[in-house]
Structures are given as structure tokens and as C-alpha cells.
């Protein structure tokens, strides 16, 4: 190997270490935390594709200069944007770099015995002297056992004999503080990981099902809307089928919903496609869990129905779900008739019909505008405008099920045939003789299937996270030392007793140690006769490194 190559390798290693040290420093972690907080804000302030596509599209259209730039930079899909991912990935790496050495350190500390007693215990922040009636060795053993059985957080104590014959007990507690702290940080990492895995391998699908109809979740295409994770190809979805048997809702006098729910027939596993259904009442806030998937009742609405008598004499029934616009279920939507009878080929496409309008379960017309006065179907009415022409469905672009493509109207391909308000049973006749009759409405429910293979782990990490932070913020690290010497100098009267010097140190959060130290003193023996020794706490010396005083991460 040439000298130059050695230099390059050395440089790369140096650079790597420097970068690693920089990345795992607290300063960097803090900066990354702030970047994360700031980078999250655009997703709250700007419309997001995954939350509301129409709103986002409108926003971009309204801001022709800034909109596309922001879109290109990922501001309308912040969570999936490369810069957001970069921040949390760096933060995750920084976390690993912080947690790993600390875990090793903790294991070392766990194995090591509590440190030797400082030479001068009276210089510690807490200090006391007591006398004991037993001799030093017995006294030390007694203290060690007493510490063992003392309270939560467990004291670890070790007895040593010093060169001059004094017996010491060194004890430390609060190791769980660091454990809790590490558990907290590891849980944050775990949670990040489970969220990532969940979004890769999970999916959600939503669908509107009319009362009386059914639905089978066998492939993505069965859904109105399907949002798969990147690793989902839709081939191995555990299939289940449902039948929407009966929708129920109750409202108070003001039209406020008390509850709504839907009676389902459910098939899963081997029963799929048989005629055996299990009854299930699906409520909001209470999903149905089938084979790892969850089925939710998210909302409901009405499906107005129309009977259309075509000029050729054919009579057909059409319906479509309408989208509720207010709490009283004034709903908007469109019934699209794509295959009008009596026409063939191109003529059929050019004579498609669209019944666009408003449905009100309890209609109330004020100044010619139809709104609903109550969410229940007491006096159903519609206000419709009928279009004839090409709906533009062949263009290959997906259309909203609640609206027509207005560009077709602008292009003159869809032409209005008139508008009318209809009560139940009333009809409207189009110029070509087609008669449209409003015959009523059914209920529909909007359902969602969700699948996330790892959400159980997310819950586990969530619990560990809270447990970890609580442990690390409540448990305190304490040290105490006892130095026990024979009280022989006191004269023959005291020859069997001991003098116990006690020093205490709070490694985190001094508050509250005073009272606890009192009880630590009490377990050693009776207060000594020498008041001069239990003096004021002295300033800390080199025995207590400052950096150990208080650390969160």
C-alpha cells in the first residue's frame, strides 16, 4: 500500500469519526429536533394531497406561480417528502449513536460495584454522624441488609474494609432511571420503525355500500378508493364479504345525531362466497376486526333513486350516492346514465344523461333553493339539472362519483336539458320526451378497510415510551456512604460501639433528598453526641464530577 493510499484511508476514517461524533452530539440532536418541528408545520398550514386532493388542486390552481414550485418541492405531501424523511432519518441515526454507548455504559455500571467512599464524608452535600451499639463489622452488615429492603428503586450496597481498619458501606440506587431513559429513546426509534413498516406493508380501502347491497374485499379494484403501501400489490388480501342489511340512525329534535350504526352480514375465511353470513352490528368507534383487517363505519348518506322512461319506451331505475353537505344531510351528487337504451355505438356515448343536483331528506325550499330541514327522510325532495351528451368517462381519467366533469360542459359536449325541483313521485320531462321520476331514496354507508400488520408493535412501543419517560423522570439517582469506625477512643464505656460517618450525594435532582437522607441516617443508629460533626453541607469537590449532576439524555 502506498503512503498516499494510507493517508487517504486515514483521512476517510478521521472524517467518518468526526461526522459521526458531530451527528451524535446533543447539539446536532437538538437542531434536528427543531428542524423536525419546523418541517412539520407546512403539512398543517398547507393543504395536503393525502388529506384532501380537491383542496390541494384548488390551492395549486389559485397560486399559479408558487403552487407548482411548492408541489415540486413536496410541500403538499410533507410527510413523504425527501427532506422530511432526511430529518427523521438523521434523527434516528443520532438517537442510535446516543443510545448505544449509553447502553454499554449502563451495563458496565450495573456490573460494577458502587464506588469507594470518599475520604472525607463531611465534605459531601449531606453529612451526619451517629453512634451504633454494635461493632463496625456487624454494624456494616446490618446497614447493608437494611438498605436491601428499603423502598422502591433498590439500593445496591457493598461492604469494604479500608487500610486503616474502618469498614465502609457504599450504596447507590436509581439505576432504573437510566434504564427508563434508554427504554424511552429506544421506543421512539421502535415507533418510527413500526410507522415506516406499517406504511410500506399496510393499506386502506374505502367504499360506499347502499343498504341491501354487498361488497367483497378480494382485490383493490373492489374499492372506490384504495391506498396501498409501497410493498402492497393487492394479490394476497385476506378476502371477506359483507352484506349491508339495515342502517339505523336516531336524531334529537334539533336534528343532532344520537347514534348511527349498520347491521351487517359478514363472511370471512372459509365462509366466503357461501350463503352463510354472521350477523354483526357495526358501530362508530368500534371497528369489526376480521383476519388482521379492520372494517370501519365512517359515515352515511342517501342514495336518491330515479325511474327514467326513455323515448323508445324502455323504463329503467337509476341511483347514486349523494355527498352530504351539512348536518341536515342536504346532499350533492349526480346520477350518471352511461348506456341510454335506444342508441347504439357512438350515438349512445353522445346521448349519455347526467342527473345533477341536490337531495334533501326533509326538503325545504326557500327562495327557490332546496335545503334539508332534518336529517331523517320525512319529505324527500330533489332539485335537479339534467345534462345530455358525452360525460367524458372514456377519457381514461377517473371522475368523482359526486360530480360531472364540468370541462365537458365548457366544451359544449354536455348540454343542459333544464332544471326542476321534484318531490317524491313527481316527474320532469326532457325536450326529447324522456321522463325522469323521483321515486325515493335509500341509505348508504361509507366503510373503510384498514390493514397494518405491525400496529400491535406500535402500541407496545407507545406503552414502553410512556413507561420509560415516567421512570426516567421520577426515579432519582442517589448515593450514600457509611464509614464505620470503632468508638474506642470514647473510653471503656463505649468500647463495644461504633461511630458511623454518613455522606450522601444526589446525582440527579437534589430536591427531596434531605428527608430521604434522614431515614438513611436513622437506619445506621442513634444520633452521635458530637454535634460539631453534623455541620453545614460543604461545597462539592472533585469526587463529584459536575457533568454527572443532571443529565436527561
Amino acid at each position: 500500500m502506498t503512503v498516499a493510499a494510507k493517508h487517504v484511508i486515514r483521512y476517510v476514517v478521521w472524517l467518518g469519526r468526526a461526522l459521526w461524533r458531530q451527528l451524535t452530539s446533543m447539539r446536532t440532536a437538538l437542531i434536528l429536533l427543531f428542524l423536525l418541528a419546523i418541517a412539520s408545520l407546512p403539512s398543517a398550514l398547507l393543504p395536503q394531497w393525502y388529506l384532501n386532493q380537491t383542496k390541494t388542486a384548488t390551492y395549486i390552481k389559485d397560486h399559479p406561480w408558487l403552487g407548482p414550485i411548492l408541489d415540486r418541492l413536496g410541500f403538499f405531501d410533507v410527510i413523504a417528502s425527501p427532506w422530511y424523511s432526511a430529518i427523521y432519518l438523521l434523527l434516528a441515526i443520532s438517537l442510535v449513536g446516543c443510545v448505544t454507548p449509553r447502553t454499554i455504559e449502563l451495563v458496565k455500571q450495573w456490573r460494577a460495584k458502587p464506588g469507594r467512599a470518599p475520604r472525607n464524608l463531611s465534605r459531601l452535600p449531606h453529612h451526619a454522624v451517629v453512634t451504633a451499639s454494635d461493632d463496625p463489622a456487624e454494624c456494616a452488615e446490618r446497614i447493608r441488609i437494611a438498605l436491601r429492603h428499603k423502598g422502591f428503586g433498590g439500593w445496591r450496597a457493598v461492604v469494604r474494609t479500608e487500610d486503616n481498619g474502618a469498614v465502609t458501606v457504599s450504596a447507590e440506587r436509581g439505576y432504573l432511571r437510566e434504564v427508563g431513559n434508554l427504554v424511552f429513546h429506544l421506543s421512539v426509534l421502535g415507533l418510527l420503525l413500526t410507522m415506516a413498516i406499517g406504511s410500506l406493508f399496510g393499506y386502506t380501502g374505502s367504499i360506499l355500500v347502499t343498504e341491501g347491497d354487498g361488497f367483497c374485499s378480494s382485490a383493490p379494484v373492489a374499492y372506490d378508493n384504495f391506498a396501498p403501501g409501497r410493498m402492497v400489490d393487492g394479490t394476497d388480501m385476506a378476502p371477506f364479504c359483507i352484506q349491508v342489511q339495515k342502517f339505523e340512525a336516531a336524531y334529537d329534535a334539533n336534528g343532532m345525531a344520537k347514534f348511527y350504526r349498520v347491521q351487517l352480514g359478514v363472511q370471512s375465511g372459509a365462509a366466503v362466497h357461501s350463503d352463510r353470513y354472521t350477523e354483526h352490528m357495526l358501530n362508530i368507534n368500534d371497528p369489526l376486526r376480521i383476519a388482521g383487517q379492520r372494517l370501519y363505519l365512517l359515515g352515511h348518506g342517501y342514495v336518491p333513486q330515479f325511474t327514467v322512461r326513455f323515448p323508445n319506451g324502455d323504463v329503467r331505475t337509476y341511483s347514486a350516492p349523494f355527498d352530504p353537505q351539512d348536518a341536515m344531510f342536504t346532499s350533492e351528487g349526480v346520477v350518471k346514465i352511461t348506456d341510454p337504451p335506444g342508441y347504439s355505438g357512438d350515438a349512445a356515448r353522445k346521448n349519455q344523461l347526467a342527473i345533477v343536483g341536490i337531495f334533501a331528506p326533509s326538503g325545504l325550499v326557500t327562495d327557490g333553493i332546496l335545503t334539508s330541514a332534518y336529517p331523517e327522510m320525512l319529505a324527500p325532495a330533489v332539485a335537479i339539472q339534467v345534462y345530455r351528451g358525452d360525460l367524458g368517462l372514456d377519457a381514461g381519467q377517473p371522475q368523482s362519483i359526486f360530480a360531472i366533469d364540468t370541462r365537458q360542459v365548457d366544451k359544449g359536449l354536455l348540454v343542459s336539458q333544464g332544471r326542476k325541483n321534484l318531490n317524491l313521485g313527481e316527474s320532469m320531462t326532457l325536450p326529447d320526451g324522456t321522463v325522469i321520476t323521483f321515486t325515493g331514496a335509500k341509505n348508504y354507508v361509507s366503510l373503510q378497510t384498514s390493514y397494518d400488520p405491525v400496529q400491535g408493535f406500535a402500541l407496545l412501543f407507545g406503552i414502553l415510551l410512556v413507561g420509560g419517560i415516567l421512570t426516567s423522570l421520577t426515579i432519582k439517582r442517589r448515593r450514600v456512604w457509611y464509614r464505620i469506625t470503632p468508638a474506642a477512643e470514647g473510653g471503656p464505656r463505649l468500647s463495644t460501639g461504633s461511630r458511623v460517618d454518613i455522606g450522601g450525594l444526589a446525582r440527579t435532582d437534589e430536591a427531596g433528598y434531605g428527608a430521604e437522607f434522614g431515614s438513611l441516617v436513622a437506619l445506621a443508629g442513634a444520633p452521635a453526641m458530637t454535634p460539631e460533626s453534623a455541620g453545614e453541607p460543604a461545597p462539592l469537590t472533585e469526587e463529584v464530577p459536575r457533568s454527572e449532576k443532571e443529565r436527561v439524555t
Partner: protein, 346 residues
Amino acid sequence: MIDPTFSHLSDLAFEGAMAGYLVALVCHALQMASHHVRRQSPAAAATPALVAAGGASMTADTLSDRSSAADGAPAGEAEPLGRGTEHRHTRFAEQIGRAAVIVTVIGFACHVLALVLRGFAAHRPPWGNMYEFTLMITGAAVATWLVVLWRNKFARPMGIYVMTPITVLVFLAGTVLYTRSAPVVPILNTYWLNVHVVAISLSSGVLMLSGLASAAYLGRLRYDARVAAGVVDPERSATRLPAADKLDRIAYRAAIAGFPFYTFAIIAGALWAEVAWGSYWSWDPKEVVALASWVVYAGYLHARATAGWRGKPAAWISIVGLATIIFNLFFVNMVISGMHSYAGLN
């Protein structure tokens, strides 16, 4: 459904709370003001003669006075003779401070009563819309403040920092956010409402107090810096604010009490979302800003333990955290629409 008597009584109790907090605010302001005129009394003008007479003793006296003012302890007892006016000022400050706490307690009792009566009026827990939610948060903040006072008597003079924003928020709740008592929509009709909303409002209140204590801390630091720079003469305008490190400590303790609680509240929200919305985390605006607040408070706790970030920078982080919580409370609910749109404002 709605009991108009209870609803009306709740509104009366709210007015009682508002009145209590306003009077407390005035008392705190008077307490602050009374100390700014301390040394401008006629008796003080006569002191130069005394200084000339016994310089050494005067120095010692000044020192002790300053330290006791720093601790916020009543300095009156230590005053030498010949300063009757000053003595009166100190006693007045002490009494008005005590009065502030008493009216705060009365206001708080009304505050709680207003919430309880709202619950009776609608036959449901009183945290179903923005008005009630804001009352919960501010109530939690006042409760935390009273706990701080109970444990640390010296903290009283920071009341102006605490009660000003809280009173403003309570006022906004009663004016801008007020909604008539009503039942909640079915999706809120679950025990998760109690777990998540109670946890999030109470923990937000505790964290709010942390931010306010940090603001007081910065105020005290500024005063200390001005004294050090010689701009302010501590003899002429003393501050009654507790010593900086004590304020910092209150902020920290409130944060470590509120942070795990807030974490739990967010996780409870995720659990609810899992049964209600189809996913435990949807990156809804409210969720995103709550996460941002959480991250900022995590940053505060870390900064507080990192050399070079303790003190002033950490306090600013805490204040940023407070700002994100208030932003989440108002802006996200009132301006941005998302899945958390249960405010009852429209």
C-alpha cells in the same frame, strides 16, 4: 335535552371566574408597581445623611436587603428605622399579593363550577367543544399555578406573568369561542373522549405554566442584566420576581410533570384514532402540530441538560413550546380544517 337553568348558571359562574382573575391581575400589577416606588419615598430621600454617618453598616444592610428581595421574602422586617413609608410599601405589596392569590382561588372555584354546570346542562362531560376545551386548559393552568404557589410561597410575584395570558385566554373563551351548551356528535360519544381530551387539556395546561415560568425567568434575567450593566439601580426599582434559578426550576418541574402526561395524551389520541378513523396516525394538522409541540418540549428537556443550552436558550425553547400549544389550540381549530373539527364554531 339541554337544561337551560344549568347552562345559565354555568355562564354566571364563568363571569365569576373572569371577575376573579381580573381582580387577581390588578392585585398582581399593584404588587409589582408598589415595589417600583420603593426608594422614592420622602424617607428614602433623607437617607444620604445616614450613609455619611455609618457607611459600613449601610453596606451590610443594603446587601441583606438585596438578597432578601431576590428571594422574594418579605423584606419589611429587616428594614431599619426611619423608613416607615418603605415599610408600608412592602407590607402593602405583601398584602395585595396575598389578596391576588385569594381572588385567584375564588376565580378558580367559579371556573370549576362553570365547567361542572356545563356538564349538568348537556348531560355529558364538559369538554365537547372549543369553549369548554379552552376552559379546561386554562383551568389546568390555574390549578398548576395554585400548586406552585402552595409549594413555593416565594413564587407569588410571578403572578403577573401567569395570570395575564390565562386571563386573556379565558376572556377569548367567553367571547370568541363561546358556544351554547349542546350534545356532542356520535363519534365523540365514547369514553375515549374522557381519556384523550381530559389528558390533553390538563397536560397542555401544565406545560403552559412551564412556558409562563420560563417567560418570568427571562424577565428576571433581563432585570439582573440591567442591574449588572448599571442601567437599573436595584435600590430605586427592585424586582419582586423570585431569583432566576428558582423560576427556571419551576419551569423545569412543570415541564417534567406535563411532558409524560402530554405524551400519554397523544398516545391515547392515537388509540382513539385507531378505533374511530381507521388509522392510529393520520398526519392530521392537529396531530402534526401536537407532534411539533412534543418535539419542542423534548428539545427543552434535552437543552436543559446540555452544557451551553441551559438557562436562556432552554427558556426560549420552552416559550416556543408554549407558542405551539396556543397555535394548536386556536389556529389549527379555527383556521385549518381537519379531522379534529369538533370545535362547534361553525
